[in-house]
Amino acid sequence: MAFVLEAKNLSKNYQDKQALKPLNLQLQPGEIYSLLGPNGAGKSTTINLFLGFIAPTGGMALINNLEVAQHPVEIKRYLAYIPEQVVLYPNLSGFENLSLLSSLAGFNYDADLLNGFLLRSGLPAEAINMRTGAYSKGMRQKVGIAAALAKRAKVLLLDEPTSGLDPKASNEFSELLLQLSAEGTAVFMATHDIFRAREVSSRIGIMKAGQLVHQLSSNELDAHQLEKLYLNYMHD
């Protein structure tokens, strides 16, 4: 089966510091992959390499079989990205922000469809036309989710997506990820949330000091065993 996200000996150095040691990874459509690791482990660097925001020092990142460094614009047609902090244009409403993002992605949605994406992401109907400057973090996150939904992307890149969300919102988010996965979207998620990762992911990777030190299927261990394994790596 073709991979929609792939890293081939992908590495990144910043001067003498090796931020990402050669990484090999493949994701199939519908797969959810969670990357666990402490701050500075290289999780965000990996995501930024897949986004083309930074250039690899070695190896290559591929999205939908296209090398990111060679096709920095085209690969973005196939991926959606939700950063840890979704920052929107504060003077525009959630609707206008979504309209901008989906229009830049090449879609011409009418108002009903855009409202539909926002509602599906869990944004309250009364907030849709409010300026996003007045939104909470969770509400901004939902606009980011709506933008990802509207993009109908093959790959969803998430960088600490549930950080700062309340348990209910986190739970809704997990359900949404499972729905997207069922629809064939591959999800690559960097997170600290071991329990959430165990709950939604099909595979989990543990990263430490720029290196992927362990990979496992989520059904190999329960959440507590996973936490113990994770902490063992962190204490080494």
Partner: protein, 461 residues
């Protein structure tokens, strides 16, 4: 790309409508431009009013002389006591770019006596006021418009990066160049619109003739705006912080609008010194004063060498005669003729050198262009002084026959006296040169910005 640009332009418009600082900046530039138009118009209206009042002064002077000499008069009395005016009439565009009209005299009071001292006499003016120049539309466009462009562009990329909006936008299939182009295009459109509004308001409010100069002003200010957008772009693509960009761009503004013109002025004065002015004044003064002590025959002999047609004039027998007086005045002028020609040519060379040096500063180039279009530059003033000097020749040609043929001056003869108006005109050659210079500077800036972009990391994090 076309669709993405359209989307970005629309989003910028939505942001602009709600972004108070942008709206405030735009309003400020409109207000400053409005005041510039008003102020320039007031200055030129004052000059026009003064010029039209000169006729009243002229007629009053004639009435006084007619009263003093009820029948006939010696033309020497009239030539000595009667003042005529050489006027530098402003062009209809002068109010939009007052240029040097506030520093140089726009009329000269002339009598038949030696002309050189009269050409350079002018009213005392507050030097502080002269140093700051006029607050006209050209001032707003040359000095304040770049600040407006810097204010709306300095954080065009950095603010998005610092705020965090960039990540989400650039995770869409658009390149950073397209994103920046969209934002720059919107701002450029806004600037061109504001400038066009101001120029249109200026033309309507000051009564400037709606001729090809509308296009010249629009093209020049558009090129000038492009130059500043290019400068901003060169710093934007460095991807540094907003604070870094703001400080650097203000530094460039200071360098190009304040320091460079001052350096150009100093360099042109040092490289092309004009020392003949003082020498000319002193020499003429000495020659005229010495005329009182020289034998009359010697004075007339030298005078007749230039005016052989008056060789048969009646001899002067008494201690004083006007024809003798005006003869040595004439000789005073002629004694400095070569100095005057050198003085003029050096002034001309200095002006040309200054205009060439202006190439290093787009603001100085635009100022030269706008002044040339409004006929308010140094060239126009030099043209006026030359014309005033020729007018003095015409005056002499009118009065000398009375003086040297002992013909009485009648009341009716006032009507035949020559009058003078020098109409300021735009200088097409200077405009073309400045326009080409602006174009070249703008292209150079964009080439530099592109080179910087090529050598700057494409990474966003």
């Amino acid at each position: 790309m076309k669709k993405a640009l359209k989307t970005l332009l629309y989003t910028e418009w939505l942001n602009f409508k709600t972004e108070k600082s942008l709206l405030l900046f735009a309003l400020l530039i409109l207000l400053a431009g409005g005041y510039g138009i008003y102020s320039g118009r007031a200055e030129i209206q004052r000059q026009r009013a003064n010029i039209s009042h000169l006729d009243t002064l002229y007629q009053d002077n004639i009435a006084e002389l007619k009263a003093k000499y009820p029948d006939t008069a010696d033309a020497g009395d009239i030539g000595y006591y009667h003042a005529v005016f050489a006027t530098h009439m402003p062009d209809s565009w002068a109010a939009l770019s007052v240029g040097q009209r506030d520093a140089n005299p726009y009329y000269l009071k002339l009598r038949l006596v030696a002309v050189h001292n009269q050409l350079y006499s002018s009213e005392n003016t507050n030097p502080d006021k002269l140093a700051t120049g006029s607050f006209d539309l050209a001032f707003v466009l040359v000095f304040l418009l770049p600040l407006f462009i810097i204010a709306i562009c300095f954080n065009l990329f950095s603010a998005e990066k610092e705020r965090g909006t960039l990540a989400l936008v650039l995770s869409q299939p658009i390149s950073l160049s397209t994103f920046l182009l969209g934002k720059l295009l919107f701002r450029f459109g806004l600037v061109v619109l504001l400038v066009a509004l101001l120029i249109a308001a200026g033309v309507l409010f000051t009564g400037a003739q709606a001729d090809g100069r509308v296009l010249i002003w629009l093209s020049a200010t558009t090129l000038y705006s492009m130059f500043w957008f290019g400068v901003c772009y060169a710093f934007i693509v460095l991807k540094k912080s907003s604070a870094f960009n703001a400080i650097c761009l203000l530094g460039v503004w200071l360098l190009l609008t304040i320091i460079a013109p001052a350096v150009i002025n100093v360099v042109s004065q040092i490289s092309q010194p004009v020392t003949e002015g003082m020498a000319l004044t002193l020499k003429q003064r000495e020659e005229v004063h010495a005329g009182w002590d020289k034998p009359k025959d010697e004075t007339f002999k030298r005078f007749f060498a230039h005016y052989p047609q008056y060789r048969n004039t009646s001899p002067v027998t008494g201690r004083f005669a006007w024809k003798w007086y005006f003869a040595f005045q004439e000789l005073g002028d002629r004694s400095v003729e070569s100095l005057y020609q050198t003085y003029l040519s050096k002034l001309q060379s200095r002006a040309e050198l200054a205009n060439r040096l202006c190439m290093v500063s787009a603001p100085a180039t635009l100022q030269v262009l706008l002044n040339a279009a409004g006929g308010t530059d140094l060239q126009s003033h030099l043209g006026f002084v030359q014309s005033a000097r020729q007018f003095h020749h015409r005056l002499k040609a009118y009065y000398y026959p009375f003086l040297f043929t002992d013909k009485p001056f009648l009341h009716a003869d006032y009507d035949g006296e020559p009058r003078h108006i020098y109409q300021a005109r735009s200088d097409a050659a200077a405009i073309n040169m400045a326009m080409l210079t602006l174009l070249a500077i703008t292209i150079i800036v964009f080439v530099i910005a592109t080179i910087i972009q090529c050598f700057t990391t494409s990474e966003l994090k």
